[in-house]
Structures are given as structure tokens and as C-alpha cells.
């Protein structure tokens, strides 16, 4: 089993930070919806508060790590410009997609949307993490604020889902690969 350095970074970005973000997000949304509804009179213990605070903080950290690795590590490899006269474009994913009308939409719609909508995610999840850390169970006393926290977290999760979908489809059609190879383990002979 061999993976290239660029492939490994893509894996860390998407399957590591991205997928973990979506997992943490589903837990946080359920908890926010169930436990912090304005009419709910059941007591919220310190442990419940800590769990949600941990989930939201983890989401914010994962979102920032995902966009920073995506923008500053992987995106430059994706948009690299080949030397003039290059025919083999597999090492230049953006140019490979744009070279064929049947695949160019993956860049002009997919990547163009992904690169911007993905940046909505860290901003829109840092707010719920910060507000919850400050207000905690007091959030029940501010229904509009609780709804805003829930709404931002939902849109953030949806935007991350969109970015993840386009990332997976782009990597399927024009993988970001190259660099030195890392041998993970030997296969059976």
C-alpha cells in the first residue's frame, strides 16, 4: 500500500478534519435542539454543558484546520500551472478538468463553489462555539440567541457537507496526487 504525500494531505483534509467535523456536528445539533429548547424545563447538568461545549469547540477547531490545509496546502497543488507544451495533465488537476468540456463543470461550478462556501464554515461555527461558551445554560433564557446558534450551526454543517461532496467528486475526477511516495504496508504476494 503506497500513498503519495499530496494524497495523504488530501486524506487528512477531507477524511480527517472534514469527516470528523460532520460527525461532531451531528452530535452538537441534536444536543442543541433537544436540551436547549426555550420551553424545556428539564435541568441541564454541568456534564451536559461540557459535552456541548466540547463538541462545538472541536467543530470550530476542525473547521479551521480543514480550510487552512485545503487553501494553503492542497489548493496550490490543484491549481498548479503546467509548463508550456505539457500534454500529460494528471499532475495538474484544474487544467486536466478544464481541458475537456465534459469535465470542466467540475471546476467551474464545483471547485468555484467549494473554495468559497467552505470558508463560510469556520466563521459560522466559531460564533456558536463562542456564544455557547459564554452563555451555557443561560441560552435557554435567550430563545432568539439559541435559535441563531442552532441556525448558524445547521448552515455551517450544510456548507461543510457541500464542500465535502464537491471535494470528493473533484478528487474522483482529477485526484490531487504526486510528490514522494509513502509505503504504508506490504500487500500479500
Amino acid at each position: 500500500m503506497v500513498i503519495t504525500v499530496r494524497g495523504l494531505w488530501t486524506l487528512i483534509h477531507g477524511m480527517g478534519f472534514g469527516a470528523l467535523y460532520l460527525l461532531a456536528g451531528s452530535g452538537a445539533l441534536v444536543e442543541l435542539w433537544r436540551r436547549y429548547a426555550p420551553g424545556d424545563m428539564s435541568p441541564i447538568c454541568v456534564r451536559d454543558e461540557r459535552f456541548l461545549r466540547f463538541c462545538l469547540t472541536a467543530m470550530a477547531i476542525l473547521a479551521w484546520l480543514a480550510v487552512l490545509t485545503g487553501t494553503y496546502a492542497i489548493y496550490p497543488w490543484y491549481r498548479a500551472v503546467p509548463p508550456a507544451g505539457t500534454v500529460e495533465l494528471s499532475g495538474y488537476p484544474q487544467r486536466l478538468l478544464l481541458s475537456n468540456p465534459s469535465t470542466s463543470g467540475w471546476h467551474t461550478i464545483g471547485m468555484e463553489w467549494k473554495e468559497h462556501v467552505a470558508w463560510v464554515v469556520p466563521i459560522s461555527i466559531t460564533m456558536p462555539a463562542a456564544v455557547f461558551s459564554q452563555y451555557r445554560r443561560n441560552l435557554r433564557n435567550h430563545p432568539a440567541l439559541r435559535n441563531a446558534v442552532l441556525g448558524f450551526a445547521m448552515i455551517s454543517l450544510a456548507a461543510a457537507g457541500l464542500a465535502g461532496f464537491w471535494g470528493a467528486m473533484l478528487n474522483k475526477n482529477a485526484p490531487v496526487a504526486g510528490g514522494s511516495s509513502i509505503r504504508i504496508m506490504e500487500g500479500a504476494r
Binding site: V120, T126, L145
Partner: protein, 112 residues
């Protein structure tokens, strides 16, 4: 543990929360607007090219983050002990967030 109880038992003003919501909406909207401008205006595209390997995306995102943090800092400071019209502020913030997602969709951005 004591701090957990203190926070939970204190009646807190809604100003700091409203500032966080509104500034997050403004930050996301700024991101989408800057992306549109950098896409359509060559001068803006060049100006936003802070880190060449990443291109204009580096400037668009860095500027939007700065706008978001400055807004948050200013509003948070001004509203730190105030009660504000929370529902209206939250709707404005949420509306800006929705608009930013819509504007980031290339076919919509191309209409502008």
C-alpha cells in the same frame, strides 16, 4: 466547577451574543461579496493575490476574516453590557449568512 455554576446562575445581557451573531453574518457576507468582486474586477483580483500559490482566494478570505473580527471586537465592546433588539439582530445576521451561501454559488454570482 465553581465558574460553571457562576456562569449558569448569572443573568447575562444579550448584547455580547447579538454582537457575535451579527458580526459572523457580516463576515460571511463580506467573504461572498469580496469573492464576487475579485472574480469580476481584474484590479481587485490582483490586489487579493496575497499568496501566489493560492491566488486571490488568499486575499478574499484574509480580508473577510479581518472584517469579521473587527466587527466582532467593536460590536462586542459597545454592546458588552447592553440589551439589544436580539430577534431583529439575529435575523439580520442569519439573513446575511444565507445570502453569503447563495452568492457563493457560481451561477448566482454570475448574474450580478
Amino acid at each position: 466547577m465553581t465558574r460553571d455554576r457562576d456562569v449558569a446562575d448569572t443573568a447575562m445581557p444579550n448584547g455580547p451574543g447579538a454582537a457575535a451573531v451579527l458580526s459572523a453574518g457580516i463576515g460571511c457576507f463580506a467573504l461572498a461579496v469580496l469573492a464576487c468582486i475579485a472574480d469580476k474586477c481584474l484590479a481587485a483580483k490582483t490586489l487579493m493575490n496575497l499568496y501566489k500559490p493560492t491566488g486571490p482566494l488568499s486575499g478574499v478570505t484574509t480580508t473577510a476574516i479581518l472584517i469579521w473580527l473587527v466587527c466582532w471586537g467593536v460590536l462586542g465592546y459597545r454592546w458588552r453590557r447592553r440589551e439589544v433588539a436580539l430577534a431583529r439582530t439575529c435575523w439580520i445576521g442569519f439573513g446575511l449568512l444565507l445570502l453569503s451561501v447563495l452568492l457563493s454559488f457560481p451561477p448566482v454570482a454570475d448574474l450580478l
